[in-house]
């Protein structure tokens, strides 16, 4: 038992190092070797990858590292998912290593994307599959993408008061189409407040990138329970 704990700890430390230096090959190698030693994909995800990604996210939250480092970590995590975990799962017992899928974008009328990009990366490093629709995205485009990718969470960002009304369009449109119960909607961005999120009937509000991830984790849990 102690040997196993030590081995997981060491793998985590090596993986964090590989992620911070964007060594994709090294990250894939570590993941593969842990699976070869008998760890299941979901065990690797929960016991090694997730704690490392959580720590990296915390470091970004404290601004000890920045978006470029977060991008490096996300790149390695993506490669591990695509090259090691998913192939192994396809031949396995139907386990999953994804926390959930999120469709994200800056809503119509707004072209600011740095805040949205930060949230997208933070979601990725926390185990979500993220479909980034970019900027100036209409309510219908969010719905179409969520359907296409079978994402249960729609995340919308706005930096402008004059683009915020387009956030309300999404919740109204989901209601109008009879789809409101199928999706969880989270909103955020500098001028957006909890009160505004409540007013338009959003399910959650992220005051910054860190809280957006926490909220999405809660939403993902609620979609699994419903």
């Amino acid at each position: 038992m102690a040997d196993k704990d030590e081995s997981l700890k060491q793998a985590g430390a090596d993986l964090e190092k590989a992620m911070m230096s964007a060594e994709t090959g090294k990250g894939v190698e570590i993941a593969q070797s842990m699976l070869d030693k008998g760890l299941s994909p979901s065990q690797f995800f929960v016991e090694v990858l997730q704690p490392v990604l959580y720590e990296i996210g915390k470091r970004f939250e404290r601004l000890e590292i920045f978006l470029p480092e977060l991008m490096k970590a996300a790149k390695v995590a993506k490669a591990i998912q695509a090259e090691v975990l998913e192939p192994s799962l396809r031949s396995g017992k139907g386990e999953t290593t994804s926390v959930g899928s999120v469709v994200i974008g800056t809503c119509k009328g707004d072209i600011h994307d740095i805040g949205k990009n930060m949230v997208a990366l933070m979601l990725q490093v926390n185990g979500f599959k993220v479909y980034d629709l970019g900027t100036d995205v209409s309510a219908q485009s969010f719905i179409d993408a969520a359907r296409e990718h079978e994402a249960k969470i729609i995340a919308m960002s706005s930096l402008l008061t004059t683009s915020m009304p387009y956030m309300g369009d999404l919740t109204k449109r989901l209601e109008g189409l009879g789809l409101r119960k199928e999706y969880r909607v989270i909103v955020g961005g500098a001028p957006v407040t909890q009160a505004y999120a409540d007013r338009i009937g959003a399910d959650a509000y992220g005051s910054d990138a860190v809280s957006a991830v926490q909220q999405c984790l809660s939403l993902a849990k609620s979609t699994m329970q419903s």
């Binding site: 601004l63 740095i114 930060m118 008061t161 500098a190 001028p191 910054d208």
Partner: protein, 480 residues
């Protein structure tokens, strides 16, 4: 230099520059360029470095890094998927021909803004206003008047409207046009009520797309002598809508004020990347928008403010780099976390004003109180305070500025994550008389007293009155 020939050249580059995917530009080209330039030019800013440094050699290296950044990246146009790029010589020619002095507004309220150097005694231009902060429609006129009537406000800048005729405003729709007209009608009334009908107005804040700007910028409405805004999207991006504004403003002979808000911890990175991005971003504003004045508002990713110590550590050397190595008319936007009625707001404004003025900023804009996100949490009194501190910091050595700023930062740093948004305009002002409440005045006086005890000397109102635009020309001679 700004003319129709250069406009065509810029637009041609927008249609013919190197093709790149936006994601590659954002996620690979920008971060890798920043990292390479930090290394090449030895750009390091320690976490405990002086907030206002006095290392001229470092400032000059930073300018070279920013220049190379501008040359390497250019500006990405999201509509054409191309980078607009310029050679080093083209950049040097263009910034060399940019104006170093500019008169904005109309007689008898016109104001001449001038280039300043670090530690310069020359007058700093005060551009007071809420900088796009949304305001309830019923308070908008009184809020704008509260800035226009402040004698130390040389130029005014608009807030934006929370609603238009009680309806939700929407960008890129007929509602945007109505908002722009409503803004124009009210700010022109505000300056008239303040007895300053020729005051230069920073506009149009309710024009996210080109619709609002095109509808209200004309000789009969918001004329070319006002300062018209165009944003560069972070990091280093533009689009057809923004370039349409540029074309219209150049064809109408208008003053162009462009701005760029790099994000701390974003694709440019931390302190060092932010410092390079500020310098390079200002150069690119000149190249893409042929701007007459421009501003930076380096922004915290979580608080939305510009006053954290890390940001000030990036801003100060970047400002010094620009003002030592060019004559660009560069302003700094002050965005505190604190809102009206709080000491935090005043401390933040004082720290960033002293940092910017001692580092050579030509103008200060704002304050955009409560991070510009809380409707109506703005008032003219904080612009008066910003102006008084700025004038007290003219001619101050960077060493003295650093001593003061370090002490002031200590008084608000721990408050930032509490987000003290303060009170709405109608809670800190009598909205009929358009005068600050006694409580707000008392807080303002108390903080001025604290700054006085730290060693700041404030001018009397009559001293300000004696410093007109004419004096500035002689003052700038000794500025370097």
């Amino acid at each position: 230099m700004r003319n129709a020939v250069r406009l065509l050249d810029v637009l041609d580059r927008m249609e013919s520059g190197p093709i790149i995917e936006e994601e590659i530009f954002d996620m690979e080209l920008v971060p890798s360029t920043m990292a390479a330039l930090q290394k090449k030019y030895d750009i390091h800013i320690a976490a405990d470095a002086a907030i206002v440094p006095e290392d001229d050699a470092f400032a000059d290296r930073l300018f070279e890094a920013g220049l190379e950044m501008a040359e390497t990246l250019g500006v990405f146009c999201t509509d054409t998927g191309r980078r607009m790029v310029w050679s080093r010589n083209e950049i040097l020619d263009a910034i060399g021909l940019a104006p170093s002095e500019l008169t904005i507004g109309e007689f008898p309220d016109a104001h001449t803004q001038v280039k300043r150097f670090p530690e310069d005694a020359a007058r700093v231009t005060i551009k007071g206003g809420p900088v796009g902060t949304p305001s309830p429609e019923q308070l908008y006129l009184a809020i704008q008047q509260s800035y226009a009537q402040e004698p130390l406000v040389d130029l005014m800048i608009d807030g934006s409207l929370e609603t238009v005729y009680g309806r939700e405003g929407r960008s890129h729709s007929p509602w945007e046009l109505l908002m722009a007209w409503h803004e124009m009608e009210m700010v022109l009334t505000a300056v008239a009520r303040a007895g300053r009908p020729g005051l230069g107005i920073g506009c149009t804040e309710d024009s996210v797309s080109e619709i609002g700007e095109l509808s209200v910028t004309s000789a009969e409405r918001l004329g070319p002598h006002h300062w018209h805004h165009i944003a560069m999207v972070s990091e280093f991006k533009t689009n057809y809508a923004l370039m349409t504004k540029v074309a219209h403003l150049i064809k109408s002979g208008s003053v162009i004020h462009s701005f760029y808000n790099t994000i701390y911890g974003g694709t440019a990175g931390g302190r060092e990347g932010m410092a390079i991005a500020i310098v390079g971003g200002c150069i690119l504003l000149q190249m893409a928008y042929m701007t007459t004045t421009h501003s930076v508002s380096p922004t915290h990713p979580f608080f939305g403010n510009t006053t954290t110590p890390d940001i000030l550590r990036a801003l100060a050397p970047a400002q010094q780099a620009i003002s030592r190595n060019s004559h660009l008319l560069n302003d700094v936007v002050i965005t505190p976390v604190g809102g009206p009625g709080t000491k935090t707001l005043l401390y933040e404004v004082a720290a960033q004003s002293i940092t910017s003025v001692s580092s050579g900023a030509a103008g200060l804009i704002g304050p955009r109180s409560a991070a510009g996100t809380q409707p109506g949490h703005v008032s003219g009194l904080e612009a008066r305070f910003m102006a008084e501190v700025a004038h007290a910091a003219r001619g101050m050595s960077r060493r003295e500025a650093n001593r003061l700023v370090t002490e002031i930062v200590g008084r608000y740093q721990e408050e930032l994550d509490k987000r003290p948004i303060g009170q709405r305009f109608d809670e800190v002002y009598d909205v009929v008389r358009v005068q600050p409440s006694q409580a707000w005045i008392d807080t303002y006086e108390a903080v001025k007293d604290e700054l006085g005890q730290m060693g700041m000397t404030f001018d009397s109102p009559s001293a300000h009155a004696a410093v007109g635009g004419d004096l500035v020309g002689s003052e700038i001679e000794g500025g370097s």
